[in-house]
Amino acid sequence: MAVMSRIGEKVAPLSRQRALGIFYAVVGFLILILFSRDVQAGDLATLGLNTPRSIEWVKLPDLVLPVLPTVWVLGLITIGLGSYQALRGFQKTGWLLGVVSLAFLSTFLVWAARAGSFSLIGILSASLQLATPILLGALSGVLCERAGVVNIAIEGMMLGAAFTSVLVANVTGDIMLGLAAALATGALLAAWHAVMAIEFKMDQIISGTVINIFATGLTNFLNQRVMQVYQNLNNEMTFPYISQVFPDLAKIPIVGPLLFDQTPIVWLALILLVVIQVALFRTRWGLRTRAVGEHPRAADTLGINVFRVRYTNVILGGMVAGLGGAYFTLGSVGRFDKQMTNGRGFIALAAMIFGNWTPVGSFASSLIFGFTDALQVKLQILIGKVNIPSEFLLMLPYIVTMVVLAGVVGRVMMPAADGQPYKKQ
């Protein structure tokens, strides 16, 4: 064992960390170049810390920043950090990516708001809100895939759950029953997927696709034949925002409008995020789940029931996706609309992959996706001033996530047995 393959170290390739440093420095230059265009000396950017609703509770002064100095300071800091990373290298680099992305986004916002104003809290609050269904979908994916079952049916599960939640809430007049129906629908569709994938060892992509098609078709049909005909089955039913129940919480500056002027489903999602993150890495359930997703046969030889773990996780995942579905209705507009999930289930899968199959990572990428969504809306308002092609801005989060994947995370850690049916010998 004395002679392992660590023989010569003569050829030192340009390391990934170094390349990353260069990339960050380039981002710094981009900040300087892109965001000093069309700026007059003395331009001020006004970033609002209120939302139209929060003004009723407490009014904060706006954040007023001189555009050019901000761009220069943040740009130079980014270049400095990048160069240091390229030449010397930091010990840990995760935070660096955060700082660089933050610098880029801040300068972009300051630049977009030049000679105008822009509600910062508004966009952050909207980002969190829009990230919620993506996060729930991604958590559902984490639960399933960590146990080795690929679930591309999250979209269908969310859609189905969105439908039943409205229907049941209207029929019973009880919104909690609507929520229960959403969870049950997710669980039921997941159980179907589980039986196909685990019991009958069907191709999991096919099984998931079948569920997606089924959910789309059936909800379209029922929407047309039931919801449109009996309009009072599709009345608006939503959970009250936390700010409506606890008005005092909403009065906390910044945090209030950001976190509490939200539907409770946002909070459920955040709680689930913490619970699943901790459970996955610190409890027996988590250890066994990951073992089954990595090497089911090894788990089997230690007396772990692979099938039971997979069934449990897929069904739990279905319930989480169901909660995500309820977000679209009970947590948002209150009524069902055809194909209202609009591909969020698939974005959620991307968020899960970008998040490297971890809840926290999924959350980070959900936030990026949510932020882009929110930005898109704002950009339409600011469109005159932002004359870089909006397509480029929309690509940004994907570029960032790709860099995260390639550089910081380094290797994708997909569960080794993901998507492979387990056969007992």
């Binding site: 660590r6 010569g8 030889t301």
Partner: protein
């Protein structure tokens, strides 16, 4: 006192194979009982039955004199039975601690994993049995030998006193085998009884108290090392006289076929793995490359066959420059390659045997015209090769994965040898094979040589190198230490070179 473990008339039928045919076996307290048999003899099946992974069709199992039914691994674990599987059952991204505790987790506050406590237990066990296992490391960063020790710790953690080791030495270097034997003896002293599975005669003779030989799913006999010898055991195992030494005529070297000059190759981590290696192989000779695994042999062979880029120096085959050639170009100059990992690099396991047999000629007539492949000629070709190379398979249409290791190797040999070849590069061609298959492969290599083929044989098995080679090159840390004529080389000399000590 009743034996610790008694298997009585165990029978297991797989579709088409009677894997275990009324096998009876006892294990006494504190005994090392070796189970010897060729690949496919039914050893693993028998142990999987004992461990609750398979259910026997007939027969009963008694543990400490009491009849038990073992229908799942956790029942076996409960009875104090632990098994180190032939293919390790470890989860690469997990730490040692996580692997050990899996299935038998220690918790604090009733919810959270108590990694610290388990790590402490592992250190204690590791200390007590001299296992040298660091609980914090991840499995994927460990050497094969260390992984095996983790498997043993897993079993000791569960306080098993019956330890099954299924072909534990197949993946180890000679030094690691010595380590393992020391550990096994230590375990026995502390009251663990061991079933040691192997097909290697020497090892069984060295470690076992009793030896039971299996052949074709049946017990051929039980004996003790003192009452037998390697030749007799080999006869029991194979069922006929076995020639343990290879007899070959002196080599008649011809022209240079492979010419390697100052070759430099990097490994996957971009470090220098082959460092300025030069040698030649002539027609009609076998050049053996000895060396402990991981000294650059893998990278060398990959570079020679075009599978890995060359960063310095040059290679020529039959005078033609091949430094930058693709695998197919190299193959078409008349090179045959028997890869180190036959399941990964040698076969497409899910393909039928027939398709595997034409992997290197599938694009040529008569098998293909243009882009169309013809099933008829493929099958005809395959049938002929199966016949000629004596490949034991139910049909040429079954997936290669269904064949035993020896027969999988024969598929590769058949495919590679059936063309007119000038150079044969064989990397660990007998790894994990049974005596019968080893004998067969060795005969094939010598026959190729006698037909004027240049043979490059890479093997960490010193015996194999010594008995087959005409010249022996020893690799150490990416360099060739020396090249010796075989008739002058001694085991000791080569062994020292393998450890980096030059004469």
């Amino acid at each position: 006192m009743a034996p610790l473990l008694e298997l009585d008339s165990i029978t297991k039928q797989f579709p088409g194979v009677l894997a275990n045919d009324h096998i009876s076996l006892t294990l006494e307290h504190g005994e090392i009982h070796a189970l010897l048999g060729e690949n496919g003899a039914g050893k693993t099946t028998l142990m999987n039955i004992l461990y609750g992974l398979y259910h026997p069709d007939e027969g009963k199992i008694l543990v400490r004199g009491k009849e038990v039914r073992i229908s799942s691994p956790d029942q076996a674990i409960h009875l104090g039975i632990g098994m180190v599987h032939q293919h390790f059952m470890l989860i690469p991204p997990f730490t040692v601690t996580e692997n050990v505790m899996l299935g038998e987790e220690k918790l604090k506050n009733g919810v959270f994993l108590d990694r610290a406590a388990v790590a402490e237990r592992i250190r204690a066990i590791s200390e007590q049995y001299g296992l040298q296992v660091d609980p914090e490391l991840r499995i994927r960063d460990l050497s094969v030998g260390a992984q095996q020790r983790v498997e043993i710790v897993k079993i000791l953690y569960r306080q098993a006193d019956i330890l099954i080791l299924d072909e534990p030495t197949a993946v180890l270097t000679p030094e690691e085998v010595e380590d393992l034997f020391r550990i096994i003896r230590g375990l026995v002293k502390r009251g663990v009884s061991i079933i040691f599975i192997s097909h290697k005669l020497k090892e069984v003779m060295a470690i076992a108290d009793r030896i039971t030989v299996l052949r074709g799913g049946r017990v051929v006999g039980t004996t003790r090392p003192a009452e037998t010898n390697s030749a007799a055991l080999a006869r029991m195992m194979v069922g006929r006289e076995v020639i343990l030494t290879v007899d070959k005529k002196p080599a008649e070297p011809g022209d240079v076929v492979l010419d390697v000059e100052n070759l430099q190759v990097l490994n996957d981590r971009k470090q220098v793995a082959v460092d300025g290696v030069s040698f030649q192989v002539r027609a009609g000779e076998i050049l053996g490359i000895a060396g402990v695994q991981g000294n650059g042999q893998t990278e060398l062979v990959e570079a020679l066959t075009g599978l890995r880029g060359i960063t310095g120096g040059r290679t020529r085959i039959l005078g033609k420059e091949t430094t930058k050639a693709t695998p197919r170009q190299i193959l078409e100059t008349g090179v045959a390659h028997v890869p180190e990992d036959r399941q990964r690099d040698g076969l497409v396991l899910s393909f039928p045997v027939a398709d595997n047999l034409v992997l290197n000629t599938y694009y040529l007539p008569p098998i293909a015209t243009g882009i169309v492949m013809h099933r008829g000629p493929i099958l005809a070709e395959a049938e002929e090769l199966v016949e000629r190379f004596d490949i034991r398979t139910p049909s040429v249409e079954v997936p290669a994965a269904n064949l035993s290791g020896g027969n999988q190797q024969k598929v590769i040999v058949a495919r590679e040898f059936s063309r007119p070849i000038k150079l044969l590069i064989a990397s660990q061609p007998t790894r994990g094979l049974d005596v019968g298959s080893i004998e067969y492969i060795h005969r094939q290599l010598v026959e190729r040589r006698d037909n004027g083929c240049a043979v490059l044989l890479v093997s960490p098995e010193l015996d194999e190198i010594m008995s087959l080679s005409d010249r022996i090159a020893v690799m150490y840390r990416g360099k060739i230490m020396d090249i010796l004529p075989a008739e002058k080389a001694t085991r000791e000399q080569v062994g020292l070179l393998m450890a980096g000590v030059s004469a």
